[in-house]
């Protein structure tokens, strides 16, 4: 047993988990502030300076409220569902490389060779929390929310998986660290022509990569139940959807699970399309621990920017209707992602990239 490996892994797990949980609380705060600013309001600014202690107040409120269990629910599954909703997004963070190296230790908890498949596998378990919550509540609206959620997740997982195949055609590896390394060597995948301005093939490649990015980000929105696709919890139609019967910390777990899923999704998008922790001109952690810290900061800055994008989209676009959502997923994004793979393959062969 390699005690150094175990020790550093434990430290990384504790630090990353703590950081992400903090980030999650502040994502809730940021959501409220951003939504307020977009709607010409001010948002929560009472608790602490500029309202920065609001997340702590919210957490305290969640914890101190009565743990209420309705009489008509299926007790075991009713209590199990919120935990199941929270766990998968937290596990997924394990494979995301959130920094280069710090004191020679790679800044990723588990650098496994099936990285992106692991992400999809665990993310696909996220549906159980919602479906179970809807079913165990034994009530109409939560049940409809759960059924909607399961069909939505099955539909959009296809686009999610197909959208990243072009990347792995380029990289030739499922390991997320090698995706980052490829982007350091060949330019970010959202704009592969950077640094290689005269190569026509890279300019052509930018088009399918952008389509891939669009499909992926839309599928992530659908997977995390963010607003244009938040049909499982549509307040106006389903009175809150799958968490209608939940209160206090059980509701809090559903709520925070959604935000952690958003952070994880942003982290994966950053890793796949925006070069992970890489910023041109900044060396990696092997040149000194200060650069290692800067790399981590760069990664989380990119994640924060994407979270802002998610919030911006949420407070701009209206919700899709149910049949529109299904038609969009099956008849549009699925096909476009499939064609995209062929286009990328042709470009790769023709230009010998």
């Amino acid at each position: 047993m390699d005690y150094f490996f175990i020790g550093t892994s434990l430290i990384k797990i504790v630090c990353l988990l703590g950081f992400v949980l903090g980030l999650m609380n502040y994502a809730v705060y940021a959501e409220r502030r951003v939504s307020a600013l977009i709607q010409d309001r001010l948002g929560p600014n009472r608790v602490g300076p500029a309202g920065l202690l609001q997340p702590i107040a919210d957490a305290g409120k969640f914890l101190l409220k009565e743990q209420f269990t309705p009489a008509h629910v299926n007790k075991l599954y009713y209590w199990l569902a919120p935990c199941l909703a929270m766990v998968p997004p937290v596990i997924t963070i394990a494979v995301v490389p959130f920094g280069s190296t710090l004191f020679g230790v790679p800044m990723v908890i588990a650098d496994i060779n099936v990285g992106i498949l692991f992400v999809f596998a665990i993310a696909s378990l996220g549906v159980y929390g919602i479906v179970l919550g809807g079913w165990a509540s034994n009530s109409k609206y939560p049940f409809l929310g759960g059924v909607r959620s399961s069909s939505q997740m099955i539909s959009y997982e296809l686009s999610l998986g197909l959208a990243v195949i072009p990347i792995f055609l380029l990289v030739g590896n499922l390991r997320l660290t090698s995706v980052v390394q490829y982007q350091i060597d060949h330019g970010w995948l959202i704009a592969p022509f950077i640094g290689d301005w005269t190569n026509l093939g890279k300019w052509l490649l930018a088009i399918p990569m952008f389509i891939s990015f669009l499909v992926f980000i839309i599928a992530v929105l659908a997977e995390t139940n963010r607003l244009p696709f938040d049909l499982p919890e549509a307040e106006q139609e389903l009175a809150g959807g799958y968490h209608t019967e939940y209160a206090s910390m059980k509701f809090g777990l559903f709520f925070l699970g959604e935000y952690i899923a958003m952070i994880t999704g942003s982290g994966i998008i950053v890793t796949l399309f925006f070069g992970g922790w890489h910023l041109p001109g900044i060396p990696d952690g092997s040149h000194g621990w200060i650069f290692g810290l800067i790399n981590i900061a760069v990664f989380f800055a990119k994640v924060a920017a994407l979270i802002f994008l998610f919030m911006w989209v949420r407070w701009t676009l209206p919700r899709f209707r149910w049949d529109q959502l299904m038609r969009l997923g099956w008849l549009f994004f699925f096909e476009i992602a499939l064609v995209n793979i062929f286009v990328v393959a042709i470009i790769l062969i023709y230009f010998h990239l």
Binding site: N113, V114, L117, L125, V131, L132, W135, S150, I154, E157
Partner: protein, 167 residues
């Protein structure tokens, strides 16, 4: 350590496998099956088959079981819980199953290689996705294409079967 983990996951898989069969509630059965599959994926990983383990979680736990749950909820099968058990038929079925188990144990008991431990691999992090991909597109190209056709046929069949009769 690995022995300990093996028995933990094997027991988990078997216990939840039994739970699939004996649960009266179909939703509870389906969820037990998910846990059983997750433990099985862990066993696959203990055999250094990372790709297969992840595919197991992705396809079985993530897609097939969600489909099962979806159908169970759609059909609302809770009413079936109250049915009486046919004890004679159940005992007969169990007897046949036990006979099968005894037979399997006897075969494994006589299998001389079964007492050996697993040989060590050359390097711990072999790129199994790469190797499986090469095999799949090289040696097993025709079966792979046939599988594609099978999935297409299954998709068409599922769509045809679940379409409502229009008169």
């Amino acid at each position: 350590m690995s022995v300990f983990l093996f028995w933990i996951f094997a027991l988990m898989m078997l216990v939840f496998g039994v739970a699939v069969v004996i649960n009266r509630n179909p939703v509870a059965s389906a969820l037990s099956l998910v846990v059983s599959f997750l433990a099985l994926a862990a066993l696959f990983m203990s055999l250094d088959a990372y790709f297969i383990g992840i595919i197991q979680v992705l396809v079985y736990a993530g897609a097939i079981m969600v489909l099962f749950l979806f159908i169970i909820m759609l059909l609302d099968l809770r009413a079936e819980e109250l049915r009486k058990i046919n004890w004679v038929a159940s005992a007969g079925g169990l007897a046949v199953a036990l006979a099968l188990m005894v037979q399997i144990f006897a075969v494994i008991g006589r299998f001389s290689l079964a007492k050996q431990t697993f040989p060590s691999l050359a390097k711990s992090t072999s790129d199994d996705v790469h190797r499986i991909g090469l095999l799949l597109f090289d040696n097993y190209n025709l079966p792979f294409q046939i599988i594609g056709v099978v999935i297409l046929v299954a998709t068409i069949g599922a769509v045809m079967l679940s379409r409502r009769e229009t008169r």
